[in-house]
């Protein structure tokens, strides 16, 4: 039995996608402000003698578009935040896997990115390292799965359905202190990856949206044309989105890996 320590995901690509989502959310929010402004101007410029159907048509259409844009901006921003969290969680998992690889390499147990069992039954150091690496990599994989589920929950919230489930959640490690071990505690251990563009994976901050001019203060409009019905949430026939109670923050779960395993590898 051997242990694979490579991470399948491309953390940098996830970070880039999260950043692009955040940028798109900001652009959609800008469009929402513009359309709300147009709707407000339509309200301001209505002639007093106008009987209203045309003005209502324009005003109502712009209001609906502005509201839809605002909802879309919020939904995309939430998705951007979730993907940024996912990228951070995967990065933490990858860091732990990398350090496990370093320990295995020092013990002569690494072939490529695969840790192989000791070949010398009398080498106690190899045996200890093997046992520790197996445990740490197992914990890291559990937290990778937690991060995956948290991201899929966010995907489901965007789409209104939970599209993919990955099976039962692994048990939460009992000890959440002191993980991951400090950098440099392990000889030959790898440090954090440098970010060439200075981004940390977080989506760009978006200022809070002020009330749309002329929309929130506008007098009630007649019900013409009739507004589209607000879809029920969650939609009927859609399986409920089940958020794993202990997956509030994927990064927190990665950080919640136990100190016992760290000590096994001499990291803390």
């Amino acid at each position: 039995m051997s242990v694979e320590t490579a991470l399948a995901a491309d953390v940098g690509a996830c970070r880039e996608a999260a950043w692009a989502l955040g940028r798109q959310a900001a652009r959609v929010d800008d469009a929402a402000r513009v359309v709300a402004h147009v709707a407000g101007r339509a309200d301001e410029t209505v002639d007093g003698s106008l009987q209203g159907r045309t003005a209502v048509a324009m005003h109502g259409s712009c209001r609906r578009l502005g509201a839809d844009l605002g909802r879309q901006a919020d939904a995309v921003q939430a998705l951007a935040d979730a993907l940024a969290d996912h990228a951070r969680a995967l990065q933490a998992v990858d860091d732990v896997l990398g350090r496990a690889r370093g320990s295995a390499r020092d013990a002569g147990l690494l072939v490529g990115t695969t840790v192989v069992p000791p070949t010398d039954p009398d080498d106690e150091q190899q045996a200890r390292t093997w046992a520790a690496v197996v445990r740490v990599v197992g914990l890291a994989r559990e937290h990778e799965q937690r991060a995956d589920r948290a991201w899929l929950d966010a995907v489901g919230r965007y789409q209104g359905c939970a599209p993919v489930r990955l099976g039962a959640a692994p048990p939460t490690p009992p000890d959440d202190a002191g993980w991951p071990p400090p950098q440099g505690a392990l000889p030959g251990g790898r440090g954090p990856r440098p970010q060439a563009d200075g981004r940390d994976g977080a989506a760009p901050a978006r200022p809070p949206r002020p009330p749309a001019p002329g929309v929130l203060t506008a007098p009630p409009l007649p019900a013409w044309p009739p507004p589209p019905p607000t879809p029920a949430w969650p939609p009927a026939g859609c399986p409920p989105v089940v958020t794993t109670p202990d997956v509030a923050s994927p990064a927190a779960h990665v950080l919640a890996l136990g100190t016992a395993s760290a000590r096994e590898l001499g990291w803390g």
Binding site: A9, A31, A57, M58, C62, L65, L90, V155, V164, P228
Partner: protein, 96 residues
Amino acid sequence: MSIVFEPDVALRAAALLADAGYDLLEAQRLPRADSGATTEATAAVLAAVEHDVGDLAVRALQEAADVRAVLPFHLGADDAAAGGYERLERAAASRP
């Protein structure tokens, strides 16, 4: 038939709506990301976001086109303006 907008206001409204639509089209495309076991779901949701934003961009551009369509009538006789306004009403009523 009365006047809905001052002409310059209508022109500016159309320009703002068109700008918003083109901005959305410009921001529509998203990079794909290999997220490991969730790559398929990630690609699906990013495609859904692109689709949704594209729809909103088209709606903004359609609004701009409707307002522009009124302008020639807006500057003419009242009866001609009425025809333009009716088009605007029909266009607005036909959209979800």
